[in-house]
Symmetry: C4
Subunit: 130 residues, 4 copies
């Protein structure tokens, strides 16, 4: 086996997360224990990934696209509550998201909810389009 | 990249969730902290999605179909304990579900369990049929 | 859309769960709050599913096969700690499992851990073999 | 059905986990309640699996490859915080990982977070490359 980590691109170019919800409040020390919803992106390829995220709601048109880049052979753990341009995502509102990239990436969805005294966690690999 | 969010339909037309259980009691402020089991549906297409949900049990014939629609480019986070027609799903009973749609959708399953003083969370993308 | 719930078989005939661990102790009222690890099986087909489960360990040969059936159009939420024949699965030991069926099924893995005062939950759809 | 557990290899040879984070502190009895992030590997085949893990970060080049073996018909639940060669993974830093094997394996990702008084759990089957 090689002594160089990784072996190039892995993943798909289009992903979806049907669950989304930014808890409205938090408990515990900041920033680790603040309630957050994270979109973890892995770009194991040798090229910069140009990523656009569209956010869908129950009662209004979609927001975005939010545009970002992930450097080659890097991961980026993006908190939805830090998205600013073109608009912030309001807390306490259900949403969903579609993540598109020009190179293959892997997407995983995680929530830390610290609204009550002890935190709760959930995660899933996102849905990878064919 | 385009400045319009999303780029059309994503997903599959038939999904399954093998786990299902509505906790029998709750702690904390309503409605955010009430125990619930959610079926999150994303319809990123440009057409209305007609969805039917069948609910399977351990000791009786399936319930449903529960019929609903999801508007184009919208998400819907449906709580199983809010299903009424043709019948409610009893708490504290194991079930499973199959979700069918006439357009591609993405389905994710989430449970918030607040039976004890602090809440617990779990989520997974549902199984997408071929 | 039809008024009969479900529309037949969904899933695959061979599944795997790489994580497995029966917590060694519990808190809270029995049986809902006892720590457990569940293999949720959905048989949406019109035929009885004959299922066999093999359990893999870190330091010994596999256990099983554990044999069971799931009736047509039924789910079964099986607790690993209730398996008895040919042997019980010890608590506090890492394991993994392969679930095989003669008809298509859907498998989901869930753990409720109540070793500390408040319970924790996790779930994932199992890996579906091609 | 056969009376021998298992029926050979299942899974894929290349997997990815986009989420990774070793919590910086713990509560509760060691080692069960120490915060940890686990990569559960199932090798249901009849051959030794030679596995290499590459770890990706947000702001530096990848670490690894970490090399290990999983014996035939065995599982191995590997804690990322126990990786030592060629370097340890620092706590409180986001990472992602790619897991490669010369025989088919199944990979599942689990985190136990006990930074607050009660533990939280999350799990998902990793992304299986085509």
């Amino acid at each position: 086996m090689s002594d160089t980590p990784g072996s190039g691109a892995i993943g798909r170019q289009r992903w979806a997360i049907a669950e989304g919800y930014i808890p409205g409040w938090s408990n515990g020390p900041e920033p680790q224990m603040s309630s957050h919803e994270t979109c973890c992106i892995l770009n194991a390829s040798d090229r910069v990934a140009s990523v656009r995220i569209s956010v869908y709601f129950e009662g209004r048109d979609p927001a975005g696209p939010y545009k970002l880049t992930v450097e080659p052979r890097r991961t980026r753990h993006l908190r939805f509550n830090e998205l600013r341009d073109p608009e912030t995502i309001p807390p306490d509102v259900p949403y969903a998201s579609v993540i598109e990239s020009d190179v293959p990436i892997v997407v995983q969805h995680t929530r830390l909810d610290s609204r009550q005294a002890e935190n709760a966690l959930m995660t899933t690999i996102a849905f990878a389009a064919d």
